[in-house]
Structures are given as C-alpha cells and as structure tokens.
C-alpha cells in the first residue's frame, strides 16, 4: 500500500469510528445524575471494611484480583525488559564519565532526594486512609531515587541504586501479594478475602489486609519501576556496540 493510500484508508476508518463513538456517548447517562450503582455499593462496602479510602478498598480488597493481575503485568514488564534489553555478545558495558553540574542543582537534589523518598513512604503508608497508595507512592519512591541522576549524573544514581537487590525485592513483593491471598484459603475463607482484624476506622492499622497488600504493592512498584528504568538507562547510557540490522523482506 502506498503511503497516501494507507493514510486515506486510516483516516476514513477513523472518522467512521469517531462518528459512531460520539453517537454512542450520547446514549450515556447524563452528567451529574445521582445514580451510581457501583459507586454506592462500593462505598458502603468500604465503610463495612473500616477502610477510609474507597479507591484503596476497591484496589486491594473488593477487586484485589484485578490488582493482582495488574501488578503481575508490572512484574512481566520488568522480566520482559530484563530479557529484551540483556547485553548481547556484541555489546559492552562501560561506565559513563562524571558530568559537571551546577553546585546549586547538586545541592537541590541532595536536599530534595530524602524529602521525596519520605513523601513516597508517606503516600504508600497512608494508602488505606487518604488519596494515594502503593501504586502512586511506589512511583514517587522510584522517581525520588532518580533525582540523583537528574541533579548529578548516572554514576551517582548507580551508587545509590542496589539493582541486584531490587531485582529480587521486586519478585518477592509480587510473590507476597499472591501469597497473602492464600491467608484467606488457609483460614477457611475465600482466596484474597480480607481476613485480618479490621481495626478502628481511619487509623493506620485499619482495613485489615488492605494496608498489608498496599505495602507489598508499594515495594513492588518502587523496585519494579527502578529496575525497569535501570534497564533502559543502561541500554542508552552505559552500553556500547551495535546490533546488526538487516532489512526485512515482505511476505
């Protein structure tokens, strides 16, 4: 297909899809109505479970099985990156040199890194109480570490990034989520059932299994994102050598 034929075909089809989608959206319930069947039920269930943050209750209790699948996707992505970005025979690793940065930038990074880490820990730890949780806090934790790269250089990041350890931690945390689900089965309840004592509403220990799974997800996301970025950064910054490129024929 020539370029213009392809573009025309795509634009024609996309226009048709857009028309149908817009028409479909006119069939949706009106904005601002009071009927939220799932929302009402989910909030009621959240309160019964002594969990202050409904989103966390849905993520780690009511629909925890979805979250188990999602964090497995993250584990799969990390493993996939490990497999695809592995160093081949014609590539060599090297240590990138030191980079000159402004002292003010370095100072800013040095001050902000612990603050950002602390923020991440806070967001993970309060997942069952206030907006945030393992996914969001985990990403904050991972980006906090990368301040070392932004405010200094790749060497500094490598120094504070225990990559081998995080590789293992990532897998252990993912396994921990799966294993925590077994607690329900062992006590005679269902898989992933919230069988821990629910505690007092709106305290750190409330929500039963929610804070525990939330913490496991926080650890997994933080280490997973760090390892994932490490593979890409290594490939871009610390690997030399070209993979052979061959033209692919058509069918």
């Amino acid at each position: 297909m020539s370029r213009s034929a392809r573009v025309r075909l795509f634009l024609g089809a996309a226009a048709a899809i857009a028309v149908f989608y817009v028409l479909a959206c006119t069939g949706l319930p009106h904005f601002g109505t009071a009927a939220h069947p799932y929302g009402d039920r989910a909030v009621a269930a959240t309160l019964r479970q002594h969990t202050a943050n409904t989103v966390s209750s849905i993520n780690f209790d009511q629909r925890a099985f979805d979250t188990l699948g999602e964090e497995s996707i993250l584990l799969g992505s990390v493993l996939g990156a490990t497999a695809l970005l592995r160093r081949t025979d014609d590539e060599q690793e090297f240590t990138p040199g030191q980079v000159r940065v402004l002292p003010s930038t370095r100072l800013f990074g040095t001050l902000l890194l612990p603050v950002a880490l602390l923020t991440g820990v806070y967001i993970v730890a309060h997942g069952q109480l206030s907006p945030g949780g393992g996914f969001q806090g985990g990403v904050v934790l991972a980006s906090a570490l990368h301040l070392a790269y932004v405010a200094a250089d790749y060497r500094s990041l490598k120094e504070i990034r225990p990559r081998e350890l995080l590789d293992g931690v990532d897998a252990v945390a993912a396994g921990a989520f799966t294993t925590l689900g077994l607690a329900g089965l062992i006590t005679g309840a269902a898989y992933l059932q919230n069988v821990l004592p629910l505690g007092t509403f709106n305290t750190l220990s409330s929500g039963g299994l929610v804070p525990v799974i939330n913490a496991a997800v926080g650890v997994e996301v933080a280490s997973g994102v760090i390892v994932l970025l490490a593979h890409f950064l290594d490939q871009a910054l610390a690997t030399r050598g070209e993979r052979t490129t061959t033209e692919r024929g058509s069918s």
């Binding site: 297909m1 497999a83 695809l84 897998a171 058509s250 069918s251």
Partner: protein
C-alpha cells in the same frame, strides 16, 4: 477445600511460580531450573484436571475475596468454573508443560544474571491465559488479556541477537495494544450504561435498554481486542510476523492456544453479555462472524500454501484454522461450540507438534527455509520426518486424529446452517495439510523437483539465527519426545469415547445463558443438563469420508507441487503457465497486503472496526 475455593489457584499457582523464578532463578543451576519449572507446570496440570472433573459435575462460581452477591449485586469479581472454560485452562496448562519440557535443552545460553527469566515469563503467560479463560468479569478479563499480551510480546522478541524478533514483537505489541484499547473503551461504555463489570450482571442490566448505537459500538469495540488476538481478517496481519520470529516453545503456546482464546473470549462475551434482550440479534452475529470466519479460513489457506518459510507457513495455517473455529463458534449453538472445542484440542496437539519439529530443523540446520532445506534432513526422516508428515495428515483432517474428528463435527454443524460450508472446511484443511505434507516430503525426503527460487519479494527462511549454538550435537531427546507426545494426544482426542460426550455437555452449558447466570448468582438456579444428555455423534460415515477426501486432496496438492514441474507434455506446460498467471494476478496483490508494515496493520485494524460498526448497525 471445595472446587470453588481452589478455582483462583489456577491463576495464583503460576503467579507464585513466576515470582519464585524471578527471585531465586539466578541462584539455581540451569538443570535445577528446568526440573523445578517442569514440576511446577505439572502441579498446574494436576490442579486444573481436578477442577475440570468438578466442573463436569456442574458449573460453579468462585467469588474472589469472598464478595458474594447480596440481593444479586456484588462489588467483587467472580470466576466461573464451567467445563469449557476450565477445559481450555487445562489445555493451556498441558501446552505449557509441553513447552517447558521441550525447552529443557533448547536455549544455548539463558540470559546471564537471570536464567529464571524465561520460565518466569512462561508461567506468567500461563497465569494470564488461565485467568482469562476462567473469569466471569469483563474488566478482569481485560486485565488478564493484557497480562498475556504483555508477556507474549516479551516472549516473542526473546531472541534479541536478531533484529527480526524485535520487529515482530513490536508489531504484535502495537497492534494488539491498540485493539485492547478499543476493548477498554467498549467496557467503559458498558460500565457507564449498566454500572456493572461482571459479564452476567451487564447482560442482565442491558435488558433495560433497547439495542441502540451505544450497545452496538460497545459490542464491536469489545470484540475488536478479542478478534485481533484471534487473528480474524483484517486483524490478522500481526500474527505471521510474530509467529515466524518467536522462539519455538513460545510458538507452541501462541499458535496452540493463545490465538484460540480470542475466539473463546468473543463467544463468551457474546453469550453472557449480548445474547439477551437489549443485546445484539443472534442473526447478525451469526451472519457477520461466519462470513468473516470463512474469509479468514480461505485467505489463511491461500497464504499458507505460498510460504517457503516453514514457521510462516504454520502461522498462516493457524490463521486459516482459527477462521474455521470462528465459523464453528459463530453458528451460535451447542453443537458448534462443542465441535469447535474438540477441533481446538486436536489442532493444538498437531500444530504444537509441527512447531516443535520445525524447532528441530532450526536446531540442526539453522534454517527454516523449505527450499534451502531440500533433502537436507534425510537422516531425520524416520523420526522428525514421519512425525511432520503425521502432523500434516492431522491438519488435513485424517481420521481418527482429534483434529479430524473436530473438523468432521464442525462440518456437520456448519452444514446444518449453510449447505456449502463443509466445502470450506474440506478445502481449508486440504490446502493447509497439503502445504505441511509438501514441506515434509521436500525437507525430509528430498522428493520431487528441486525447488527453484522465484524472484518475488518474499520471506525466505534460510538465514535464521539458530536458536541453539552447539553444532553437530544430536537432537536433544525432549525435542523429539514432546512432538511425539503431542501427536499421540491429538490422536487420543479423536478416539477417546468419553471426551466427545463430555464436550457435548460442555457446549450445551457454554451456550446456555440461564445456566451461566445461575452459576454466577445472577439468575434462578437451573437443573444442569444431566451427564447423559444427547451427545455428539462421534465419528460418522459422512465425517470420516469427508476427512478422507480432504486428506486425499491434500496429498494430491502436495504431489502436484512436488512432481508437477517434472511433467513433460504440452498439457502440463499449459497448466503450469496458467497457475503462474493465476498466482501473479491473485496472490501477488495479497502478498503485498501482508507487507509487515506497522502502518498498514494499523490502517487495516481501523478499517475492520469501521466496517464491523457499519455492518452491525445496519443489521441490529
């Protein structure tokens, strides 16, 4: 512990195994890794076999997290153990077992620092496929769909030393992700209308509305992701590029069961969500999907015949068979569903075996090019060669292979709907089987004329990176034992008398909305059909005869391709000229269509969605 309690373990056990390999894989020697992953895969098989027995007594539901419905409403996720869904999960676990045993001595060097990566990815793949087969929740199905997708992209591009796997994985990833976004948008539309995510719940609530543009759009969008995985024309363009480059054990899983799961998902979504009032009329679904299935089957068969890259040939053969599965499922009756289930089972055995044997060629000769390998594999003719030919005969539908019985029963069901549909089954099986037989005769026996290179642009298969670098070693035993076992299983699935009866009942339950709703707590309890319910006929004279006919046609096609060029005489020459002209006029444009360009794939994806929207709106 009862079967409903154990149902989530079908997902949890492989997930746990994946985490284990990711965590401690680097500490284990290679052999220990191989043994451990085999034991783990075996444990999954045992678990799912037990669940399958339970599901055959009557479908059951498992509310994950104990979120049982109150007054018919729940906030949780339900898994449904019906015989067909659990049976597919069992097939997944069996193929995973075959793939990991096959891979024992397959890769020369696992990635340094992380030898556990491959087993961990395979187990995650298994968890995604099992979760997808078992879930009764539309959003949860999407999550597992994405899990199997994300892992499959990585597994496809696994051989990073060669740029082609990465290219194939990229196409696979981009096309399937775009299609999955379509599904997600469709799920969002359904959620906005009904406030529900469970399939049965959505189906129940859709009855409150008449069928409007929202219903049709949601139906088409949700189906887009599933039918892209199922490689329905014109969503199929990613498949040959991905299957041709994926490592052989991964091909066994992709072709054997992942693609088929797309058809299963589409049928499941139709029956549970859209089959009732306020859904999509059965006539429209039947008409459109049967037509698309026929198109897919014929196009796949035609392209299959044209390939000289053996893995691409097998990939197009898979497309072609999935077209037949789509036809069988889209008949929308119990008979079609049961027959297709048996066909999928038989096809999985034969196709996985053929991919495994192609892996042997790659291992020994560093090539999967039918022309380049001409006569080179003679020393393997009594082992791999015989098995390759048997696989070809099974694909062609020879009785009593399971693929043959599945074909016979599907044909019969399809013939009840449209008299000429059995011809499509016969032609497709004959052409795809013939292509395999032609390859077997050329590669393992050096039969027929020496194939000459054409000057058309085409994918050859002669400069493949061998997946194993240890020249001169004998063929590792698992690489021959696994295809043999798979072919034996394909044969067994055609002769085990209890299997057909069990699948007949599974098909009845799969197509019964009332039974599914009852199991998922969304309807009044039903009396499930008894085990002695009217079952499929098994082998009939007509089915066996058509199976023999397609096998004979396959043999004739292969013989023509092999010895046709040697025939002298004016008649033969004229026929050859005619064939060359036909191939130039008809096949060349089709080959150009399969350009492998990402842009083309995306344009065709959008076109397919647009056409389906228009057609279903017109027919609603």
């Amino acid at each position: 512990m009862t079967a409903p309690d154990l149902l989530p373990l079908a997902v949890a056990v492989p997930l746990l195994g994946a985490a284990l390999f990711a965590a401690v894989g680097r500490l284990l020697p290679r052999r220990a890794c191989d043994v451990l992953v085999t034991v783990w895969a075996l444990a999954d098989v045992v678990l799912l076999a037990a669940l399958w027995r339970a599901a055959n007594r009557g479908p059951f539901a498992s509310w994950v997290g104990g979120w049982r419905p109150r007054n018919g409403e729940s906030v949780g996720i339900v898994l449904v153990g019906d015989p067909l869904g659990v049976g597919l999960a069992l097939l997944v676990s069996l193929l995973v077992l075959a793939a990991v045993v096959y891979a024992w001595r397959y890769f020369a060097e696992p990635p340094t620092r992380s030898p556990g990566t491959f087993p961990a990815l395979v187990l995650l793949f298994e968890a995604g496929m099992c979760g997808f087969a078992l879930t009764g929740d539309l959003f949860n199905a999407f999550v597992f769909f994405e899990l199997m997708g994300a892992v499959a992209y990585a597994l496809t591009g696994y051989r990073v030393e060669d740029p082609r796997p990465l290219q194939g994985a990229l196409t696979f990833g981009v096309v399937n992700s775009l299609a999955a976004y379509c599904s997600l948008m469709g799920i969002a539309l359904l959620y906005a209308r009904t406030g529900e995510l469970g399939m049965a719940q959505i189906g129940r609530h859709l009855a409150a509305h008449r069928t409007d543009t929202l219903t049709v759009t949601a139906f088409v969008l949700v189906l887009t992701g599933l039918l892209t995985k199922a490689a329905m024309v014109p969503f199929h363009l990613w498949l040959p590029d991905a299957h041709a480059v994926a490592p052989t054990p991964v091909c066994m899983l992709l072709s054997g069961v992942m693609v088929e799961l797309g058809v299963y998902g589409a049928a499941r979504v139709y029956w549970t969500v859209f089959a009732g009032p306020g859904g999509i009329p059965a006539g429209a679904v039947r008409g459109v999907l049967v037509a698309a299935g026929v198109l897919t089957a014929l196009l796949g068969a035609l392209m299959c015949w044209q390939q000289r890259h053996i893995k691409r040939m097998l990939a197009f053969s898979t497309i072609s068979h999935v077209g037949l599965f789509l036809v069988g499922t889209a008949l929308l009756d119990a008979h079609g569903a049961a027959a297709t289930a048996l066909y999928v089972l038989g096809h999985a055995g034969a196709k996985a075996a053929l991919f495994g044997l192609t892996g042997v060629l790659l291992d020994q000769y560093g090539s999967v090019d039918e022309h380049g390998l001409y006569g080179r594999a003679r020393e393997l003719r009594w082992s791999a060669g015989v098995m390759f030919a048997l696989g070809g005969l099974a694909v062609a539908g020879l009785p009593p292979f399971g693929a043959g019985l599945g074909k016979a029963l599907s044909e019969h069901a399809a013939g009840d709907f449209l008299g000429w549909l059995p011809a499509v089954f016969v032609v497709t099986s004959a052409v795809t089987g013939g292509a395999v037989l032609r390859t077997a005769a050329r590669v393992f026996a050096g039969a027929g004329a020496v194939p000459h290179d054409s000057h058309q642009a085409e994918t050859r298969g002669d400069d493949e990176e061998p997946e194993v670098r240890d020249p001169g070693r004998p063929v590792p035993r698992p690489m021959l034992a696994v295809p043999a076992a798979l072919l034996a299983a394909c044969l067994a699935s055609g002769v085990l008398p209890g299997l057909t009866a069990g699948l007949a009942r599974a098909g009845t339950l799969f197509t019964s909305r009332a039974d599914y709703f009852a199991a998922a707590g969304q309807g009044p309890p039903t009396a499930f059909p008894p085990l002695s319910a009217p079952s499929l006929a098994g082998w009939t004279g007509e089915g066996a005869l058509l199976g023999l006919v397609s096998t004979l046609v396959a043999l004739a096609l292969a013989a023509t391709a092999l010895w046709g060029p040697l025939l002298g005489g004016r008649g033969a020459r004229r026929l050859r000229d005619l064939a060359a002209t036909g191939s130039h006029r008809l096949v060349l444009p089709l080959r150009r269509l399969h350009s492998g360009r990402l842009g083309d794939n995306v344009a065709w994806l959008a076109t397919g969605v647009g056409v389906l929207l228009v057609v279903f709106t017109a027919l609603r």
